[in-house]
Amino acid sequence: MEIPYTVAERPDTGLNNGKIGIWLFLASEVMLFGALFASYLMMRIGAAEWPRGDSILNVPLATLNTVILISSSVTMVMAWASLKRNDFGKFRLFMGGTVLLGFGFLIIKYIEYSAKFHHGLFPSTNTFLAIYFTLTGLHGLHVVGGMAVNAYFWGPGSKLWKTDPEHFTNRVENSGLFWHFVDLVWIFLFPVLYLL
């Protein structure tokens, strides 16, 4: 038995199964982060005073992290494009770069977090820090998840390239869609938490 349209597109929908699956997943992720951003709004509207993000958080480090994450999105596209051009060596290079950049993002996040803890700033300190740690923490978990999937496709998962290159390329495209989404969440998080 074989499931139809795992690789090929269904003519009338123009999609393969994986593509529709990842978009539906991202739709639910939008609702998850949407609810958290809405909670942020409700916290902030209800607060007697709300600190400006840059008075507590480290804007230069976060700016650097923004650059890192956007670069990783670029390398992610390059990885997929290399597969489309049938260049597996380049794919390994760009995919490895994507994973390393994600790792760099997490290291900087770790530096930021530990600096906060050193200054006695914890999630329980006030509602601003509570929403900051929750949103960035959940985003960080998404980065870890995306890195795990990308590392799998860089390593053991890439065996599929030899037997079914088109299927493998589709998988990389889908994990890329997720990675871009994680990037996009950060693009919203950065100004909302650090600058406003």
Partner: protein, 590 residues
Amino acid sequence: MATITTEKRPAHHEGAHAGPHEHGEPGFLRKYVFSTDHKVIGIWYAVTGLLFLFFGFCLVMLMRWQLAFPGQPLPLIGGLFGEARMPGGSMLPEFYNELGAMHGTIMVFLGVVPLAVGGFGNFVLPLQIGAPDMAFPRINLASYWSYFLGGVTMLASFFVPGGAAQSGWTSYAPLSVIAGQGQTMWLIGMIFLITSSLLGALNFIATTVQLRAPGLTWFRLPFFVWAQLVTSFLLLLAFPPLEAAGVLQLMDRLAGTSFFMPTGLVVSGQAVAYTGGGNPLLWQHLFWFLAHPEVYVLILPALGIVAEVIANNSRKPLFGYKIMVYSLWFLGFMSFVVWAHHMFFTGMGTTMAAFFQTTTMIISIPSVAILTSLIISLWGGSIRFTTPMLFALAFLPMFGIGGLTGLPLGLSAADIPLHDTYYVIGHFHYVVAPGTLFALFAGIYYWFPKATGRRMSERLGKIHFWPSLLCINGIFMPMFIQGLAGVSRRLYDGGAAYDFAKDVAHWNVFMSYSAWGLALAQIAFIVNFFWSIRHGEKVDDNPWQATTIEWAAPSPPPHGNFTTPPTAHRGPYDYSVPGAPQDHSPQWAS
């Protein structure tokens, strides 16, 4: 759309995408426990869901003892629950709260939804659209096991110090934030369940969009498939906000944040150790943003099952099929903008209340359109009173009572005096218990022959049906009387301590006997279910002379479902077509 009729499915490439299950005969574990076959997963879902329904029912039967005979020791089994819960066999208020919270949680999240969506959706939907399996069989398996873990977590929470969650199935903050460890288990369990429903929902949608058989255009889909599709969108988009809320409550409980903790909160004469600044209403908004669509998650699959059973047993096409489908989508969309009608009690302003009561009145229109279509579908039919049909027919007035008693609750002026009374309990139980549950029973009797190749006993089915119908009304109808008399739904003694409740409190005994009677009536179902698996009347592939594609598959269908991939040639309900050789023209017959 018409192009599908000519397209071919991709040919089978030997070995190209061979999954692990394709190498020879699978072992016992792979075939029955960790199978990726949608039918096996569906049956697992259904059986687990039924067990949880039974467990949730047992919890409420304990509560009904306390409500009927407040403070009196429970005979025979009262000693089994330990001194911490029922000293000397009489129930402590804390244990009553545990039972109440867990009854709601288990019935909704572990019983009805897994049976209606996980069970029926998994088993029937791919067959009805002529697909060999779900689009993502392994994700399907992960969905079941995530549900299973969530269930185990919920059950285990009864045994942590302090017992299971006690803050109601709604887990309102700040009560839930300062509650015992059982609440943490509840939140972790919910995160498993939300993951499970996310994986299931995206699978259903992808399967419906991608794997419809050639010729099965959108408006040839059975109504059941439409119902599951809209339900899946609700699960996909409404559950994540509850997940967000769950994460925030976990942070409040474990990291000491104050998302739901207001400034200056004093509990039992002591200021709580939270910095404050949070908003308890935020929890309610996030919770009901899920939980109102969840109401439609509970009811839409039931409507889908009833539509199938009614069309089949009245031997007529559904009346207003397209209107029903459009209503379904409108209902799904509107269910996202009515949530605050659960919160009129919170002191919301009149502008907000006006908005939400308007949307609530609007959402009743498509519900009535669907129910009316189902009733008119009976007109002029040659009705067969089979067991599934009896349950489906009973569904119509029961769901009708549930829906109509909801209208006063949608208007804030009428809701405020009624909201915290038994009236509300009666209202939503009419929707979910004699409504949805009866539809689910109809579905079990209807599709049992497809799953096993044997029909359930009609005689035992009727012994199950009539007492169930009587008893379930005996439970819920008096709730309206008590509710209109103003009896609060949160009282541990059923109102015995209040003078104004004196005239209606005696109904508690009648309701409790009805509940235990309902339990006895289920024995007929349990016996019938197990007996029929081996000894039921053997039937052919299409025992109900139905038209939809699931009946083209062998009973029980093998892994991969169809002996030859089916093609749809007509709409789903071509019953009694003039000039046709028989009274049903199956979709798959050319």
